[in-house]
């Protein structure tokens, strides 16, 4: 019992050291997301439920925006599912890295990660650090609760809050740039990133903004496979 308590207390500072910049971003963006959800007619408990059960941040922004535009429920649900289908790619890439954990532990991590937690855990596991199930799962829960409470608080505060949405959103963009920078290890990964970025723009130009991210991710992976094959042929 003593050793369990010790383990728990010793991993917590390590997790907080990587989690707190993300938590601050989540508070800022979550409040803005909650304010928008309030305008769309969702209350605090509904926002908490939505945030804590597998919905992505972009999916939640999308629900409010599309509802306020008068989009029918079926179209709204299909659009949110399309933009959130990238989680299948995250989990597919995470699966080999989770080999060191039991099936139950892996499913617990897969059920609870946010995009930032995915990036952090994948990076930690790839660099071979002693990132345990307790680290990964606690990080997931801390970030999920931070996001959920922030969105619910935003809905409760409602329009009384004056949150600069653009600045809060750019905090998330900065996080994604940081997570991307850790993935650019060689020329092939740069080709992957450039192809994905270009594909997002082209998908938006073609009117497929809702599915731009998952489409671009698949194009990026295909570009990486081609670039690696060309390099192998030249070698």
């Amino acid at each position: 019992m003593v050793s369990v308590t010790k383990n728990r207390s010793s991993v917590f500072p390590e997790i907080l050291a990587v989690a707190w910049p993300v938590m601050l971003s989540y508070v800022a963006v979550g409040l803005a997301c909650g304010v928008l959800a309030d305008q769309a007619g969702m209350n605090g408990p509904e926002c908490f439920l939505l945030s804590a059960t597998y919905l992505s941040g972009s999916g939640q922004f999308m629900i409010s925006n599309l509802w306020l535009q008068g989009t029918p429920i079926a179209s709204l649900a299909i659009s949110v599912c399309a933009v959130s289908s990238r989680f299948a790619l995250y989990s597919a890439s995470l699966a080999p890295a989770l080999a060191r954990f039991s099936k139950r532990e892996s499913l617990a991590i897969a059920s609870t990660y946010t995009e930032e937690a995915y990036g952090i855990t994948l990076g930690k596991l790839a660099e071979g650090s002693s990132w345990s199930f307790r680290h990964a799962f606690t990080l997931d829960i801390i970030l999920l609760l931070t996001w959920s409470v922030s969105v619910a608080a935003g809905a409760v505060i409602g329009s009384a809050a004056n949150i600069p949405t653009a600045v809060a959103s750019f905090a998330m963009t900065s996080l994604f740039i940081y997570l991307l920078s850790g993935q650019l290890k060689d020329r092939t990964s740069v080709v992957v990133a450039l192809a994905a970025a270009l594909s997002v723009f082209l998908a938006k130009c073609a009117g497929a903004a809702g599915a731009a991210v998952p489409i671009a991710a698949l194009v990026g992976v295909a570009a990486g496979l081609i670039a690696a094959a060309v390099r192998r042929d030249q070698a």
Partner: protein, 107 residues
């Protein structure tokens, strides 16, 4: 939005996203995959993070209200890239990114 509307949206989207999260891990973990599949999976993180960054920064209408409003987030992102390369710190990337964004938006 009524409670019924909310429940329909929540149940449909949550069930779909739960499957997206859990099924790949349930099906792929512990299996030895062909080398090409493993190679493809290794490219996913770079592809999705690049797509998410581009999704935030690029759109066909980004210069609709002038060159500077469209260019400013790109310049702030360039600052974040430099900070990421120099410090490899998530915290400094966020702080530097927000500072660059605020400063550039005041110009």
């Amino acid at each position: 939005m009524s409670t019924t509307d909310f429940l329909v949206i929540w149940l449909v989207c949550s069930a779909f996203i739960f499957c997206c999260r859990v099924l790949p891990v349930a099906l792929l973990q512990g299996r030895s995959l062909p080398p090409r599949v493993e190679e493809a999976l290794s490219y996913i993180p770079a592809a999705v993070f690049a797509a998410l960054v581009a999704n935030d920064l690029l759109s066909p209408t980004m210069f609709a209200s002038g060159v500077w409003p469209g260019l400013m987030p790109l310049l702030a992102s360039a600052v974040v890239c430099l900070i990421a390369a120099k410090t490899k710190s998530m915290l400094w990337c966020c702080v530097g990114g927000i500072a660059a964004y605020i400063v550039l938006s005041l110009l």
